[in-house]
Symmetry: C2
Subunit: 712 residues, 2 copies
Amino acid sequence: MHLADGAPQVNGNDQTEYGKNVVEGLKKEEQLEKSSVQKLSTEHDLVLKTFRFGAIGMAAIGVALWKYGMRYAPHTPTYFNRDRFVLSNGHTCLFQYTFLHLTGYKAMTLEQLKSYHSDRVDALCPGHPEIEHEGIEVTTGPLGQGVANAVGLAMATKNLQATYNKPEFDVVSNHTWCMIGDACLQEGVALEAISLAGHLKLNNLTIMYDNNQITCDGSVDLTNTEDVNAKMRACGWDVIDIEDGCFDIEGLVEALNKARAATDKPTFINVRTVIGIGSAVAGNAVAHGAAFGDDDVANMKKMYGFDPQSSFVVGEEVRKFFGDIPARGEDFVRSWENKVQAYEEKYPELGADFRRRVEGRLPENWKELIPTKEAFPEKATATRASSGLVFNPIAQACNNFMVGTADLSPSVNMIWKGKVDFQHPDRKTTCGITGNYSGRYIHYGVREHAMAAVSNGLAAFAPNTFVPITSSFFMFYLYAAPAVRMGALQHLQVIHAATHDSIGMGEDGPTHQPIELANLYRAMPNVLYIRPGDSEETAGAWITAIEAKHTSTIISTSRHTLPQLPQTRRDGVSKGAYVLQEDEDADVTLIGVGAELCFAVDVAKELKTKGIKARLISFPCWRLFEAQSLEYKRDTLRKHRIPAVVIEPYAPNGWERYANAAICVKRFGHSLPGKAAYKFFGFEVGTMTAKVGEYLESLKADDILRQEFVEL
Amino acid sequence: MHLADGAPQVNGNDQTEYGKNVVEGLKKEEQLEKSSVQKLSTEHDLVLKTFRFGAIGMAAIGVALWKYGMRYAPHTPTYFNRDRFVLSNGHTCLFQYTFLHLTGYKAMTLEQLKSYHSDRVDALCPGHPEIEHEGIEVTTGPLGQGVANAVGLAMATKNLQATYNKPEFDVVSNHTWCMIGDACLQEGVALEAISLAGHLKLNNLTIMYDNNQITCDGSVDLTNTEDVNAKMRACGWDVIDIEDGCFDIEGLVEALNKARAATDKPTFINVRTVIGIGSAVAGNAVAHGAAFGDDDVANMKKMYGFDPQSSFVVGEEVRKFFGDIPARGEDFVRSWENKVQAYEEKYPELGADFRRRVEGRLPENWKELIPTKEAFPEKATATRASSGLVFNPIAQACNNFMVGTADLSPSVNMIWKGKVDFQHPDRKTTCGITGNYSGRYIHYGVREHAMAAVSNGLAAFAPNTFVPITSSFFMFYLYAAPAVRMGALQHLQVIHAATHDSIGMGEDGPTHQPIELANLYRAMPNVLYIRPGDSEETAGAWITAIEAKHTSTIISTSRHTLPQLPQTRRDGVSKGAYVLQEDEDADVTLIGVGAELCFAVDVAKELKTKGIKARLISFPCWRLFEAQSLEYKRDTLRKHRIPAVVIEPYAPNGWERYANAAICVKRFGHSLPGKAAYKFFGFEVGTMTAKVGEYLESLKADDILRQEFVEL
């Protein structure tokens, strides 16, 4: 198939004068000479020529993968035991879309292929692959993410295998294939994930590196001259070199087979390719983002023996070449279904459990494992500790949960009794902790970004088969943010246990105090950012997060102890905000949030001694509140009747919707012990009470003030 | 000096039961046996014992550095040609604070040393090092950042050397030393920077790796078993091993000297140490974050021959050991000043330029280089192109600016005529681009996070000697966010040229459309997030950014062309918001922003045809507006008189302060060409006009609505 006249602008870049004037590049002639076209079989030759489109240089890799390497079922795209393919260099998505078309994915019609970069709103060919569409395992685009996703997918397989496979019943046996370009090897998130995958000895994971040595700016040696093979070996990977990656399909197939057979390491296939091969700009950076132009495309078509006037033509030979794929796929499906059936007969209990996981269900009784309000400790308890009290029994009982931490086990309280680490079974650590692949506690190392991106891979394996939990200090979810975003965008249920929020975490100072980070997550679509105020509200936060099957949640908890409040209700949390203390004649509404909810309670008491009547709202989550009815929102806020003041030591932007004034923080934090930090920023009860009183007075004096949001 | 009873909780972690029960660790006795105490000279032995505090295992490294390795001047802390020291493992800051005290930094008194983790608000010993304090080069804490900062500091030296040094006049000759722990080698930002530093052959950069194989969770081999030396060599670094890093000062000094003499590679000194050496928990993860306890501290003191009852005692021998440092430092300063004086005499022009840079001044005429409003193209122009028109001449003329891109040169328009790349002079790239160290255009590769963190290092070299520019798509400033934050926190002037904002960038789809990212940067302290609406406003944005000497700025521009608007004013931008079109009898205020400012103009026209009078505000930057007088703000907004509607395809949170309603986007984006994307999300003029009309009608019907913010 030779695609539309004028190659697509792969990633939307405009090259303008830059490419023409600055980048000289390699000569097309040299490239073609270097390539050993002659050694190809006729069949492959034709197929390859036909595939010269989109990511032209990767065509041979695609043929090797979709025809020979991968096990998948185009007519049953969600076949559970399919190999997973991740296109980490997502801007080359036409490459994937076209193989989906040719291998028989029904949704990917020829008409759909033409929708790439078109005005068609229901296009299946968006500018980067999207998980919503048939045959796409994960959404990619932001570079490096896909590598970490693939690590997560491979870990999912390992965990299922160790949990369910029995002799003669390998009900899970799939491989994960990840395609990358030069850029993915430069991104930190990929480098973190690569190091982790080597450590975990994920022999079911293969990276295919489209090594064309070109990125947008020119040749890769402008910015990166490392010995990538040596680096990968140092990280615990096997390396296979393919010298003639544009044509050597036989070599590629051999490499893929070797990768699938790897015993104790992931495999890195370093495939030398030429970007835009066959075009006038072969090997040149302008081939990366700019259209080839009509003449160049026509010449390429002529060179390959096609009609330069025709577009979107797929020859019969090519159709035939891929014609057997759907039937082969259905054989895989049937064979697996038979195997699972026999497995369920031989191991009824395990089989039922496996079925539950395949269907993405939790054990029915998970909610009963949560302590009642009365069962929580009476004493003041940090909400990070409450998180453990609420969730550890659930994690212990429900094997959907894979719980990880970016090296903060002692702080985040996510370890349950009897937890087993996810590790290669032969791993002997110096500190004496061992594990195996059935383990569900993951030490990610100090790799916050990879932690979140790997978790996306775990969650993407199959809907809710795994529910990944990540944990770290809330501030470090800024490191993880691009991956948290990708999880939310893909409607993946990932739960982030973020501790040490607010300024109460203290001494670590402004680098660790997340003054402005909540603003990001409150604005990020499909993320629930929840700040519970005590153990009861923490229960509500976890229930909400676990019930949100297609949404990511951040449960944001305190390092320091917080009093247990008699008025809090877990079902109130699920509504985002609720009235903690009503007063029909109130002069002011006080809004308390998370670690500072108790401050609002205390200020209300103090105001009362001064003759000011306050009603109280607990407001753990904006997005949940926005989903309530207009009536509920108006009854809760009563903003049209009396002024409201929110208490939260964060940047106040957005509270304007719910409050008229904020006791807040608009500068970076300060290194002081928790109590001293609160004092320094004016969060002592006496100070706050005075501020609220003065604010209410000022409203009487300045008429316009009612229209304006004030920082107190 | 043996510090306060009970070692500090270094990073605020609570180990609770975790450390005691789970982590076994190595035995203290074995550690002490392995260490070759006997080979130390008496002098070093005493000093080392005295230094067993804070980051105990690193004491020998500290002695080697501050006594022998580094060139610095405690009594002239800002001496321009000093070696730079970065503590990337910032949680070990007591290590640095104590050496600052002992080497004679005047501010760091013994009393101040006691302020660590205290309630003292003016403490010079915050929980992580802070740039504001004498002797601290960069603020660290979030792991990995310091490595990239150090790369930036070393690049600054290289650039100054190549620009100013003359035979016999090496007016810049300093070295950069970066201390890291195990965690820094796991963080993506450090891995990106390490790869870049190797490529750039920064032989003036040394990493000292405190290889104690312990992080919070236990031994490093829980998560990382890579061959780090091989990995560093693959990245183009020289590696030196120190086997007995807790005691082998002679070996360390030899390594430091070798590193300083390196000719074409940065140096990685892999120093094996034992965490908490001498304590009962030596080699154990609990030594990382938990206090040793009184008994353990007393035993350690006894073992070293000190009085277990006394604290904060510095022996005379130790004072004497470091006694010569201040005088040595002043010799460095005098020698450098003499050299610069002679240099200025021999090379008056270059000398004056060097002096200007040392003093952190731009050439006086920079503002005159910006085109007048009339000189901009009349035709519609993308604001990313406007950025180039405004800033390229300034970058060309003013050598303070180091301009970099994360591999998006063809898209971000930051290349000026005659730019020279910052590269090792011997580098020959395949694409034919060469450069040298005097070059000021930096190809960072696809390493957004390192780009921003390296830029912080460039900016931190000396105040405004360098003004780093970064560039990428706005969405990828989520990757860079932790480093952007660190720049703002440190009051560094870094300017981020972020293109492809809004949804107008189109086809790349939801992974590239920054729906919620502005919310982060509008909330982040000390960041100016500016969205200019045409060329004139882009001029205003750059002027504001360049004049903001202690603030970071993000200039957020469009991919697509925008009409030049007659009413825009560059000085309006500097006020954050200004009236574009006044009407005393207006029914509504329309707020336009950046790429959608022209929509507001068009909607106002359309409303007029329907008998609705609209006034117009351009609102490029919240933070600048907030800094204006109450009077200016009220006159501009007039929110108390008529309703205001903002038009911006971002999450609206925070606009509630300035508007009553928003035409906005609250879900992730959609892959469509720019115009189609605007249409899809309801940003066609007709649709928007209708929405505003309906909203104004609804206000008449629903009394409470005036109090509520509405998404239209």
